[in-house]
Symmetry: C4
Subunit: 288 residues, 4 copies
């Protein structure tokens, strides 16, 4: 079965593969989004209580970054491996047929490859001291922009609904990349970082939604790709995904803030409270 | 009369409902625009006279923010309630007919929901101390971007004039959202905040204009949706709305500045005057 | 001859009017562009020699700003007056014919009106002390964005060449507005200001080019509006206009720098030289 | 053979000329991209070891900048010269035929001219002390934007594949110009500069790719300009070019960092090490 294309497989197998093809990156982005949200809130909370637990947290965060990089590399390799399972011979051009082979899979491969580079940069940055730490942000921005670019050119010649759901995905990815890009230029605060993670969560859950819309796993009929009402519904569905993600981030915030507070108060209740009030006032002044 | 659509109602009722559907958000945005203008100028004037009346104004502003949040939540709930009055059963999909129900109303609902989140964030931010105060700005930016996104996808398959007036609305909303987004990154000054409120005022008055153009309340004939001259006129009409809003903001500025000056001079005339001159010179230097 | 339209006039008169309609704003923008270039370079040179001539230059610049504001108001009124000369009755809608009257003239009127607001803001800002000085930058940005918006909607239903030359104009105006907008957010340097004035000069000279392309004053035949080669040529013509403007700005820079240097060296040669070197070194360090 | 057009030449000569027309700028951009990468990393490494070798490196960098400017001017003149070799009479308009002559060559000429201005600015900036050093960044941004503008208008009326590969080129050029433009406003770090050089390297290698796609030098048949698969492939090909350029930049970084470290450690091993650690910690704190 050399050079077999997905399009020659029976419908059921095809649906399963493509649904997984959307569910897998969706799951990865949801995991990374939640993890980055937690890390970002933890850093914010620890920074507020800087003087009490400085040295410990610093070495800890460095180890966490390296671990994060390894996990990202693992995800990228898993993603590339799932592609090659259904696609045994790494051929790009079929000289016999005179046509390109599996271009859509190569698209996914390219996307995973840039996230793999992000993982490598993450590991290198915290092992080698002389590298600038903003390198990880650069690679994240690059990975997201490349993903948006690939996804934008993923749907040439498909139907309206298919193009629309991918365009919404590109929107979420591009905004996440734009924020990471702006973070390169300007010193940012926790709000901007949470905005970025909310966009990454959004793309994760939207990947799942695309899977359900285009390849219903229940085996039911696909959506009518030419119905304007479906597009109108998906517009608000996208907004509801975002609202849900914002609420999830809010709940994570509440949980992490409570955790940090309760654990720190056990050791040094009075001092932290004083520091917090002082910092809080200073911040409010700046904000005003 | 389950699942009744607006389009089955007699023309007169339909016009009234849809005109109100544009007049209500228009009124909300005008009120919020004027209020934010006043608050922003008040803060600027109070900051100039910081040392004389610092403690009092700070607690006052905190209470004002909470009140503002409650008002925004009230507006969002009112908006959602007016939709459901004409639309009794909160159904999204009619399984008998096999089609979506009231998608345009759900669009408005989504829009109001995100402004409701802004109100909640406003209240939470000034009750809970550990939350970053830039959260309200983030939620404002989100609410405006979601509104622009929904409005942009609101007019699939309608006529040229209808699309054009909604595009101008999207322009005003998007610019307001963009400024709020940039305010997240960069410490801003009063000019930028007034620019944002002017865009919000503009969208408020433009909502009214849309109501008059698409559903003339006088009962007269609707505008010719295919006439290029109408589009040419609405282009300059949009600019005149903006010019009018700028003049209104200028008048509010003059009034508030006069009020603050006259009230402060009664208590401590000499000191404030000196401070003002000193600060003014420093500022001019920076600007040069 | 009530409500007479330009389109009913004989061809020769029409050409003269419309050529003047492009030549007049073109001349205004060239004058303002050159003036802002000179002012900006003068300020830069004076700031470098700050300590030696501080007090004198400051009062001088304030008077210059007020004068500049009055000149801009004068230009705006002149522009509006030239429109109304050929257009005696300030009517917007002809109820007898049931159609809009002179919409293109009202477009120009709107454009001039916003530049008039810029002039008013310029005067007010330097008379009233409590106004933030960034207000003039805001009004400049507004005036340019409104001009770009009006010009973009100026050519509905015209021919390809006509639309293309106006699009290039919109590009120049929009970039100038964007730079003025960014200057609101970020403290800028002389390079950015010169970039903005170069865009304003570009739009001035491009207004003239539009006049020559669309309404050749020699009375020769108009350009072929459907020839792709004409568009290809106008693309590079636009770049050459820009190159010429850059060279003119360079020459102004050389002249003003020489003037300031020669006049200052007469009074205090040694001290200035020392200051300059010290500042220069500091700057180079920062740039590196 | 007056006014001879490329299109009248035999196919083989035509292919050679046009392939060279893409290979020459491609080579220039690759050389400049690699050189800027090296310079930028060298500066970063030298800045880290500032105190030990400050005076020497400063004068050196100034001389390097002047040399760089001369090289850029040389490249621009070479580029313009290769055009005029195949195009003897510098005519723009053929009055006999009544049509424009060699507009595509004039496009290339304009592009080279702005890079020539960049070279001139580079030389002037480091000879004349009173010029702001950000002028070179402005001229780089201008040159790149003009190139993007010209390339965007280069393909009126051509085929889909031709337009697509040029659009990707415009994307790379525009992003490089945008980063240079943002660098005017905001103090940047090494990561942003490396991002810019990676975009310049990308456009260099993509120029070569365009040459191979549109005018295969092997003399084989051209690509099918209407095949969607070709566009799909070129999308990922563009990403792979970028990935390759990132890896090349990483290798340059490693080599230069090793070179600087090994040469500096020979002279002052202990002191530098201490400084590095101190700076590193400070930086990490800021990043956190």
């Amino acid at each position: 079965m050399e050079g077999i294309s997905l399009y020659y497989l029976p419908y059921h197998v095809n649906v399963t593969i493509v649904f997984k093809g959307h569910a897998l990156p969706g799951t990865f982005f949801i995991i990374m989004g939640i993890w980055w949200t937690i890390k970002c809130i933890l850093k914010y909370a620890c920074k507020k209580h800087k003087r009490t637990s400085y040295l410990g947290s610093k070495a800890l965060f460095q180890r966490i970054e390296i671990f994060e990089g390894i996990v990202i590399i693992g995800m990228a390799i898993t993603g590339e491996w799932t592609i090659s399972v259904f696609w045994p011979h790494l051929a790009l051009y079929d000289y016999k047929e005179g046509q390109w082979v599996e271009l859509l899979s190569w698209h996914h491969f390219t996307m995973y490859f840039f996230f793999g580079l992000l993982g490598v940069a993450n590991v290198l940055c915290f092992i080698i001291n002389s590298l600038p730490t903003s390198l990880t942000k650069l690679m994240l921005s690059n990975a997201l922009f490349v993903e948006a670019f690939v996804m934008y050119n993923h749907t040439h010649g498909r139907e309206m609904l298919d193009i629309f759901v991918h365009q919404l995905l590109v929107l979420a990815v591009f905004v996440a990349g734009l924020i990471a890009f702006l973070e390169l230029f300007i010193r940012t605060n926790i709000t901007v970082e949470l905005l970025r993670t909310s966009c990454i969560l959004l793309q994760g859950s939207w990947f799942w939604q695309i899977g359900f819309v285009l390849y219903p796993p229940s085996g039911g009929p696909a959506w009518d790709a030419m119905d304007h009402d479906n597009i109108m519904f998906l517009t608000i569905c996208f907004c509801w995904h975002y609202a849900l993600n914002l609420i999830i981030i809010g709940m994570i915030y509440a949980f992490v803030a409570w955790l940090v507070k309760s654990r720190l108060q056990r050791f040094c209740p009075s001092e932290v409270g004083l520091l917090k009030n002082a910092e809080r006032e200073q911040e409010s002044e700046e904000e005003m």
